[in-house]
Symmetry: C2
Subunit: 413 residues, 2 copies
């Protein structure tokens, strides 16, 4: 892994399909079209078209997984993993990443224009599933002329998509790398998502989803993100990062609400560990105490900053639709573990992290168990990390070791 090298300048590309009258039939039986997919590719497709790897992003990710956009300083969200000599070695593999259906970073979602009304879909956007996301990715792969993927890989919701690829298109994947994910959400995982959704819908600017062109439900979305960030870290990693430190610009304590978000897009990504930046919140009102209660805790400022910066780059309705797709996902399809991967010939590498309490290791072990019961060749590793769920983005060294060896083996077969 050479962190210094990256794929250089990259550009997001767009592919549109499901034009009238060929709309795509979703799992819900509703139809949607046209559908545009934002995607990026890194490396080169070989003559046999056998070296393509599809990277699948998490809830708040996008197609920009590696390299740099012209004029921007921010590297792709998984740049540590994709590039020359990295886990997904672009000297060997052709790496593809696309924004998911329902998203807000170029792929059709609730903020896109509904051709029937010429207005944003808002809640007229149909409910989508993880299976639908993967269905759209399959269209992209077909369009790129790839018959079979060398690997599908992702963490968190990306891992759920990898599982959906295995189940829905077993003939299309030679291997899958589901990281820090689950066959289906537990009620605790659903509950955290639900509170995030309720926070958005409780925002008076949400207006039943019809906020496009007016004030955005920024506070609600920021709250959802704050809840998310707590679940992405571990008790230990928070203690190490923040302790009980007070904000350095010590002021008498005030009850300080979130600011209404303004300005242009920031650089806040799930797990992007951009260090502790002070919140820019203005103090609206409060009661100061001359002694004893000076200032907020650092962790509070951090969460506010994370919440505030998220609303500059993410659409609240996408948050509703995508989290609902995650909650509804069930890779078992109601079948026994011994049945779900029966027709699969792909190899599987499952990775979990010891301190991840949002997607605990027992959920990855269930994936492994299902593989074993179905005779699927599976490798499992539980990485001893203290980063919590964020570890899938941060433990580049350990993961690179596992992934690069696994891919080499799969590619050589």
């Amino acid at each position: 892994m050479t962190k210094e090298k990256n794929v250089g300048l990259v550009q997001t590309e767009y592919f549109t399909f499901a034009q009238t009258p060929h709309e795509l039939a979703l799992e819900s039986k509703e139809k949607l079209g046209p559908i545009t997919v934002a995607y990026e590719t890194y490396g080169s497709l070989n003559a046999e078209k056998s070296n393509a790897v599809l990277i699948l992003h998490a809830l708040s990710g996008d197609a920009h997984a590696a390299g740099l956009h012209k004029g921007e300083e921010r590297l792709g969200w998984w740049d540590d993993f994709i590039g020359p000599g990295k886990a997904f070695d672009t000297d060997k593999y052709f790496v593809i990443c696309s924004n998911v259906l329902g998203g807000c970073q170029g792929t059709t979602g609730p903020g896109s224009t509904n051709p029937k009304t010429n207005k944003p879909y808002a809640l007229d956007f149909p409910l989508i599933s993880i299976g639908d996301m993967v269905r759209v990715q399959k269209e992209l792969i077909d369009y790129l002329g790839i018959d079979k993927l060398l690997a599908v890989c992702g963490g968190s919701m990306g891992g759920m998509q990898a599982l959906a690829w295995l189940v829905n298109y077993p003939e299309k994947v030679r291997s899958a790398i589901p990281i820090a994910c689950s066959l289906k959400h537990s009620p605790q995982q659903i509950a955290f998502n639900e509170v995030g959704r309720q926070a958005i819908m409780a925002d008076s600017h949400w207006k039943e989803g019809n906020y496009y062109g007016s004030s955005l439900p920024s506070k609600g979305l920021a709250l959802a993100r704050m809840i998310g960030h707590i679940t992405y870290m571990s008790d230990t990693s928070m203690a190490e990062k923040f302790g009980r430190q007070r904000k350095s610009d010590a002021q008498p304590f005030k009850f300080t609400p979130l600011e209404k978000a303004t300005g242009k897009a920031g650089g806040d990504y799930l797990g992007e560990d951009g260090g502790l930046k002070p919140p820019s919140s203005s103090t609206v009102r409060g009661r100061g105490s001359p002694t004893g209660f000076t200032a907020d805790f650092e962790v509070e400022g951090y969460l506010r900053y994370r919440g505030d910066s998220f609303v500059k780059r993410f659409d609240a309705n996408s948050y509703l639709y995508i989290t609902k797709a995650m909650d509804n996902f069930d890779a078992t399809g109601g079948k026994l573990l011994s049945e779900i991967f029966k027709v699969i010939s792909a190899d599987v590498l499952a990775i979990a992290f010891k301190s991840d309490w949002l997607y605990p290791a027992y959920q990855s072990k269930e994936i492994v168990k299902a593989c074993k019961l179905c005779g699927v060749h599976v490798t499992y590793c539980e990485i001893d990390s203290s980063y919590g769920h964020d570890a899938f983005l941060l433990e580049a060294k350990e993961e690179t070791h596992l992934i690069s060896h696994f891919l080499k083996k799969v590619a050589s077969i």
Copy 2:
């Protein structure tokens, strides 16, 4: 333990002190007065006044710990623990419970009338601390003519008060029973509280705290409560209680926001395990799918119900002040563990629960360590419960065994 027997009809009483010009000096150096304390007592004080036990409630509790109020069906929040033959045996002990300073169930808090303005304090209420809560309890104990308490006991924030009694009034307590609590909040605990506070302050009805007499910040407070409830349960207990069950009244899925709370007070208490009641939420708007996505998950309905019912009995500003007091609490006072309990002669029984991830057992073990380093006689038990933090309210049998033996020993010395 005979669950059937309770202390019968009880009545909340009120005690007022710190009248002008004798306002109480708070830890912050600000002054507050007059202060009214709502409290209840069960059992009889003996002639030596040596059998008094002070029960300390958690974030959303109140003075009504046991028995019944006239015309009501709801038993006190710790009725399983307080009564004839129970852990706090009212045939032997005189049991006292008071609502905390800053609360909204009879004791002076931000919703009380500010004598200087004849309007509710709102955010003009001074910041309070766990130490201030205990200071007020000490006034109550003095008023009741009790020089030394046989025991102070509470779970969660109640346990933090027990620790504050030990540190601030070591000569006033013969024993302390801190349950499922911490010497000080970790950043994760602070973070969950902060998101709850932000949810309240993001509600457009909050109006910088000045909502009294108009629409309440119900959605924000309900959200805070929903977040709380997730942290009070364990992954396991949620899986056992809800699984991935859908609501029984299966309808096509809609994005359903929280209702504005209406009606009178419900019976929702921290951890009161009142079974799964359906939410009364009205469907405001959404996109149904004819197949595949029928109805919400049971866990979603449960959380909405819990959130909605909480706002009928709790004041949002009290939630802000009390959670801030919890976050600011630090029983160490910045001292070494080997210093903090040095002057204590009280016996300590510390109880934690295996599946409690909000107040993990390692935090109770730190209390035990501090006791041992200071030569305090301490007993520790980690109860193997799957109920999470709620266990302190639910594991009556195990706790009763521990508490009744401990109290018998302390009382006999």
